[in-house]
Amino acid sequence: MTGNIPFNIPFVAVAALISIAIYIIISQRNLIKIVMGISILAAGINLFLITLGYREGGVAPIYTHAPQDVMVLPVPQALTLTSIVIAVATLALMLSLVISIYRHTGSIDSEESRRMKG
């Protein structure tokens, strides 16, 4: 347990973000809102990876003019880099699909578009 931050507060924040995202995804019917929920879920997972790899008092794991030897873990940061690019690519694809659905059916309601099979 660190001195300044008790009770694993960052992990609780991650749990809150993921819960909010799952709630949005399964309760909303507007496709744009569902895409926003998936984006919040990706943000929560990025925050989880970064907090997982934090080491107390560490600097970025880069040796160019490094001030000290204590560094945070590099592997979660690399995974976060991967995750961000994948999130952007899938976000673009999802928004394109929503635009296409809107042009076919004239609505971005998920129940509506399922019924019309456009």
Binding site: Y63, T64, L81, V85, V88, L95, I99
Partner: protein, 154 residues
């Protein structure tokens, strides 16, 4: 659909600086924070600024999708080729370490940084940067074209 003269002038000022910054991020990816993905994202933000300021139709006159497709495929081919280059030992082996090109070994611990280090990593940064630039620019250009006012009216 162009925006006002103020926005266009500021775009002319900002876009070259953003391009230089993205090239710096890509080429110094093995020394400082940054790399191919981040540099490509910065470059794509400059393309987004151009599209917003000048309109997607005007940008599309000089930047076609198949140019970006060629750029992206060549980036992917360079990346795969570099990965296959280390196949003498194992896939993705860093075969350039210790050679004359990008092959210097930095001193262990904190050091000022030398651009000729990293083996195959700077070249892979370049390839991935090319790929991300082309991919994100193609996504931005296609979505802006498909949702522009002229297209919707047709």
């Amino acid at each position: 659909m162009m925006m006002s003269k103020i926005v266009r002038t500021m775009t002319h000022l900002l876009v070259p600086l953003t391009f230089i910054y993205s090239v710096y991020l890509i080429m110094h990816g093995h020394l400082t924070p940054g790399g191919g993905f981040q540099g490509g994202g910065v470059f794509a933000s400059a393309v987004a600024l151009l599209i917003v300021a000048f309109g997607s139709q005007n940008i599309h006159k000089s930047l076609k999708e198949h140019h970006l497709s060629i750029l992206e495929s060549s980036g992917a081919l360079i990346f795969i080729g570099l990965a296959f280059g280390g196949l003498a030992a194992v896939f993705f082996y860093n075969f350039l370490t210790g050679s004359s090109i990008f092959g210097r070994i930095p001193p262990t611990g904190s050091n000022p940084g030398d651009i000729w280090t990293g083996g195959v990593i700077p070249l892979m940064n370049f390839a991935v940067g090319l790929k991300v630039i082309a991919g994100l620019s193609a996504i931005l250009l296609t979505m802006a074209l498909a949702t522009s006012l002229k297209e919707v009216e047709e």
